[in-house]
Symmetry: C2
Subunit: 197 residues, 2 copies
């Protein structure tokens, strides 16, 4: 009884992840509009209803992909930050890594930031990977900086705006490097200039 149900649970968990990665691969190769429950079911070699025994609906699957994405993003940013030669370069490294992530994995980025998601941000039940990603930005600023969270929010917003507006062609794709340069100098050069808190 115990061993058997354990095995089942293991199989179930495996299939759970299988669905997630299948959805992600499909989205990355053909875009999210190609990710239908039918095609996804065919891809994992099960019928449609099994998807619904694992997830509450399609949105939940997208959210699961997004959650995986946040883990990767956090790791990606951390790697960049720690590889920076000096702490002054950390901010630039993390920002560049962020834009890199957004342009190289557009489908994943879309799931994380654009598609309707069930993930709760900026609250008590925010999943750890989301917090971890955000904290990578926070950690670019000096711990003494009382407003580093605010700085991080604005920085993140700006990066997100740049990423999404250039991806959708609303600002020209070239000159991305210049924009990044400008953003960094403006945000980073005077990080300790709070208007007398």
């Amino acid at each position: 009884m115990s061993a058997i149900s354990e095995r089942r649970e293991r199989e179930r968990a495996y299939r759970h992840q299988l669905i997630i990665t299948a959805a992600r691969e499909l989205a990355e190769t053909e875009g999210w509009e190609a990710v239908t429950t039918r095609r996804l079911a065919e891809r994992v070699e099960y019928s449609q209803p099994v998807l619904y025994s694992h997830f509450n609906g399609k949105d939940a699957i997208v959210s699961a992909v997004a959650l995986d994405g946040f883990s990767e993003l956090a790791a990606h940013l951390r790697r960049a930050r720690q590889a920076a030669p000096e702490s002054g370069q950390a901010l630039r490294a993390v920002c560049r890594a962020y834009l890199e992530f957004a342009t190289e994995r557009p489908a994943l980025y879309q799931a994380m930031f654009i598609l309707p998601t069930e993930l709760r941000f900026a609250s008590a039940e925010t999943p750890p990977p989301l917090r971890a990603s955000f904290n990578e930005f926070v950690n670019c600023f000096h711990p003494d900086n009382k407003r580093r969270e605010l700085f991080a929010e604005v920085l993140w917003s700006a990066l997100h705006g740049i990423a999404v507006l250039s991806e959708s062609g609303r600002i020209p794709p070239e000159g991305q490097e210049e924009r990044l340069d400008f953003l960094i100098t403006q945000i980073a050069d005077t990080p300790m200039k709070p208007t007398t808190p």
Copy 2:
């Protein structure tokens, strides 16, 4: 022949706009997911196919709504900029007006910046209202500033990021004013500090 076809054309133009405003109203009251071709047709008191005699598809209708939105946005920003007491305050006024626009007309904003659109940005055939909106940002900087377009792009990106991340709950809705303050001081205070071009 002439008078009659003129009247027809007039009626047709009227109905064209009727569809657009109906779509917009429906989106603003119930969200874009409620804007289906059936409901829209019912609302304008015509059958579905007439929608397709005016627009190539649903996306084209959304784009038309978005285009109207850009006209309003441009006017809204211009009003704010011209009402600013001194030119130094123009930047802040325009930014505040932008965020105001985004939060007060979320559906319209969504059509303009998030939903798939057929509008061409940053190219030769960019519709005038889009250019006008963007230029309001450009005009916040001194004409001598060789990089004002770049500044405007980054500023716009940051504002868009703030708007969209707070709207979707990815950053807390409170503290919007603080973020705006920070952004303005960082961008505006040193607008003439190009790294020796």
